[in-house]
Amino acid sequence: MTNIQSNAVVAETEGPVAPVEPETPKAKARPAWRSLNFGPRLWVSVGIILVITLLAFVGPLFYPYGPDQKVGSIYDSPSAEHILGTENFGYDVIAVLMASTRNSLINGLLAGTLATFIGVLIGILAGYVGGWLEEALMGITNIVLAIPAIVILILISISLQSTNIPFLKGIAGLALVIGITSWPWTARAVRAQASSVATREHIDVAKLSGARTPGILVFDVLPYLASYVVMAWVLQLASAILAESTLSMLGLGVSGTNSLGMQLHWALAFQAVATGAWWAFLPPTIVLTLISFGFLYLQSSLDEVFNPRLRRGKKKNLAAAAKRREEAARKLAEQGDAVGVAA
């Protein structure tokens, strides 16, 4: 189930297979990834994420105003000069939005990757090694899972606010906190898969040939989990970005930096909603929703790519498949005739 390639092959071979005539060696074999069924959903989600990333990293190069450049007073309405007006400190909303999106994405990348790494490490160790180690690791995981993450996040970030270590006060510190609190989901999912991979024959072969446990984990177990790890990573990215904005909205973000949550925090603090200054709160809201939707949509479409049982045949594809089968059957029949004539 975890093997991407075998799934792809299963998805490809349907109906009676005609004996393939030896083709002229004009084209190379289709690379494996081409046989993955990337649906339109995947491209939509990739498109959303790409646009937002461009906005965050390339946008500031072309935009005339900086995020720390005072260009007006509180909540100036949108004008030709400032398309989305100014926010509560008199900064240009678009400039702040781009800086915020960049910081949120960086934070998500750091925290999400860390969380995925810890989750995969714990899951794979527990699933493969088993025994008391599995019991202990999964015990810890289940306990951490039961305690609401937001509570631990709040408590740690409050403690962090009064530390004197500059590293922990910055974006990296926040990412670290989010990373070390959000791994349990991944660990659980990976453990289940790893323990099923651990019973396969090729693991025995690896053991017999003298491979060490770390080597087996990396070269013989991990590749079979690749699709799960990728999907978990995508989910972790989204949830890390949301966790950061939740904390920032509560006033526990990194003070003095821009982030989508911070923008909302200030918009709420300065009554943007009640005064109808939509340009101050709608842009970060929409970007956050798009980021979150993009990543979740990407995850669910990857799920359909890797897991054909979730996929539903589209009428167009079904018709094409039926045509292919018909063609194959016709070829078979023709060949049968040819053989018959020859005999």
């Binding site: 609401p148 403690s159 990543f295 979740l296 539903r312």
Partner: protein
Amino acid sequence: MGLRRYLVSKTAWYLGALLVAVVLNFLLPRLIPGNPVDVIVSQLGRGGMSSEAQAAIYQQFLEQFGLDKPLWDQFWIYVTHALQGNLGLSFSFYPTPVSDLISQSLPFTLVLQIPAIILGWIIGNLLGAVAAYKGGSWDKSVFTTSLVFNSMPYYCLSIILLYGLAVVLGWFPPGGAYSLGNSPEWSWDFFSDALQYWWLPFLSLLLINIGGQAVGMRSMAIYELGSDYVNYSRSLGIGDRKMTGYIFRNAMLPQITGLALSIGTMVGGALITELVFNYPGMGTLLFSAISANDYPIVQAVTLIITVAVLVANYLVEVLYGFIDPRIRAAKSGEK
């Protein structure tokens, strides 16, 4: 036998989780370098509090936490006080006991969250199952809408609803929980007034909970639809109505565990929703406590949230033990 084993092990796990949560709640604030009381009191001093009140707080704190005693004793003091309902005194509303502030805001949170979680779960599961079963454009529209709501952060939907329905259209009052001049009391006037303010935050929580459950249920039901027993029963000519019943019940089981696992997230999201609507529940209390460095309140709110979520999870898991026949049938310990 299987059921008893299941219940015992679940109880043990949740007691363990509770212990860890209480220890974290106690320990994390104490990781702050230096004496936490010094830090907090000096911050208060900047806020223009009289030195007399500062000294009183300092004394009260030293007594309450027993900061001169070893950590182990401090923990016992903390636990015994918490069990007696003594959660300390608030800094920002000195000398109001924290438990008073919490008992004012807890009811608002409860009337908002419990209906939103339960109704969201029921409606979401029905929608997801129907979408999976009907397929086609039904599936497409329900799935995409649910996914949008599911992926939307709670506060984003809240902000959009608040702006659209309350500020622009004026259908609902923009924030708060009751009209100015009204105060919480057991009267019909107050309830009918508060109900108008309740709708909007409730709706935004409900929509997101429905979305999350529908997405999960849909994929569960699609999985079930493709399984062998469904194909077999179909070939036997069993009617659609009966089949949906089977599929629904089988797809339901993981959703019950799913509910247990998502309660924590739902509660966390709802706290921020309150903040957006300025709804005077636990979330708003927590927010104002954080911005005022009112440490006893923060600690008490996080403790109560944790305990509530753990208890809710535990109840759902116990219920699951009674519902899933496999647990009753299991003779030996099965992971």
